[in-house]
Amino acid sequence: MTNPYEVLGVSPSASDEEIKKAYRELAKKYHPDNYVGSPLADVAEQKMKEVNEAYDEINRMRQKGKGTGSTSGSTGGGYYSNGSTSQFYSVRVYIQRNMIQEAEQILDSTPEGNRTAEWYYLKGMCAFRKGWSDQATSYFTTACNMDPNNQEYRAALNNMQGQQNFNYGGYNTGNTSYGNASGCSCCDICSAMICADCMCSCCRSGC
């Protein structure tokens, strides 16, 4: 088995807080929300699992006798939950298994009259998987216009818009934070606490 400290990218002598911080950062990086519909979703899930396992392992090693270290909170999967009621069930299965050509074949052979909002949504998914983001955006837009109340289509379109507004490059936005999540996260609070803690311990050692 790989060294859990290496997985988290910390040294074995790191403090519990440092490990927690490293874990949080990685968990944020590999979070399934960042890979919705992406062809790499399963890779991210795999990485997430490794990180969770490593974190648990370290906790177990460090807290021997103190209790359990189960903190895993994986939330992978579940994006195709309403598949069984769908008329394009086989298309969804193909997309999930990354067989885009087969999925597109079925979609393209659907007669014009049967092209529902879901059809546009799935066309968009195929385009997105191929890397054709521009077409994907227009298919998702059509799907949302046809069925404005569908959460699934709306989420896909929001995901496109999120990527397009990616807070990249500072010149036009005047923003200096380039990460893909914004605002003050619990990690920031956490690191602020660590800083505060450091200062406290400095004072104490000075006394």
Binding site: K29, Y30, N34, Y35, S38, P39, L40, V43, A44, Q46, K47, A127, K130, G131, W132, S133, D134, Q135, T137, M160, G162, Q163, Q164, N165, F166, Y168, G169, G170, Y171, N172, Y178, N180
Partner: protein, 287 residues
Amino acid sequence: MFGYLQVQKSELLVREWESYKAVYCGLCKQMGKDYSFLTRLSLSYDCTFYAMLLMSLDRSCTGFEKGRCKFNPLKKCQFAVTQSDCFSKASAFSVISAYYKLKDDLADSGFFKKLAVRLVQPFFSRWHKKAAKRYPQLETLVAEMMQAQAQAEQNPETGLDASAQPTAHMLGSVLALEASDDLQKRVLYEFGYHIGRWIYLIDAADDMEKDEKHRNFNPFLRSDEQDMQAYQTAVLNQSLARAFDAYNLLTFIDFKGILDNMMLYGFPSKQNTVVYRLKEEENDKSV
């Protein structure tokens, strides 16, 4: 390859900037060794990025050595030393791309430029032959890309995504060659795909006015978007965002700071410079 893959110098640590220069100089030296003094002129930032990525992936950089610059004998520089053939590979990639670019220029440019291209072409043919023999996979991928691109441009149905497909697929496949397992292969392909797509589209955005004048193919000229700059930014952002997602799934240790800098600062700032026609920064001038 067009030189859009740059670092943001102001955000680099001094030691990172030094090692970036050392990779650039190391590549330049290798090109001189493998081909000729002249091919060094075709060296681009894009190939430096490629070489650095390869070196980081196989962790083959063993250190730096001091030497003199061939172009400016008064200047002392550092050269990155590597155990693998990544400099040779990047040189070959650069020569092969330059050769096809020249061939392409010959097809659609004015009289004087044609004349100039004809003058250097025989040399490039020879070097190209050598590079293609050594790295046949690279040669096949680039040759296929050129063919697919020509086809796509002739088809009146070709939209934005389809026009970027050949370049994107080429770079995706080139990076996928380096994978050590199937999982990494998919991640590298996706990363290369979106970087390639971004390069193609930013080049198209850059050349829009020129292409309009000369009636050349340009995917943005086929679009009827109202706010062209916003549209370009959205499309380019999305490519970078997706490349960044794939990038996050790769493990880099060597040169990580520089690669992060490029992904988060270098490429976006280049993108803004191109889309909003800003003046080139001090940053881009010299290595």
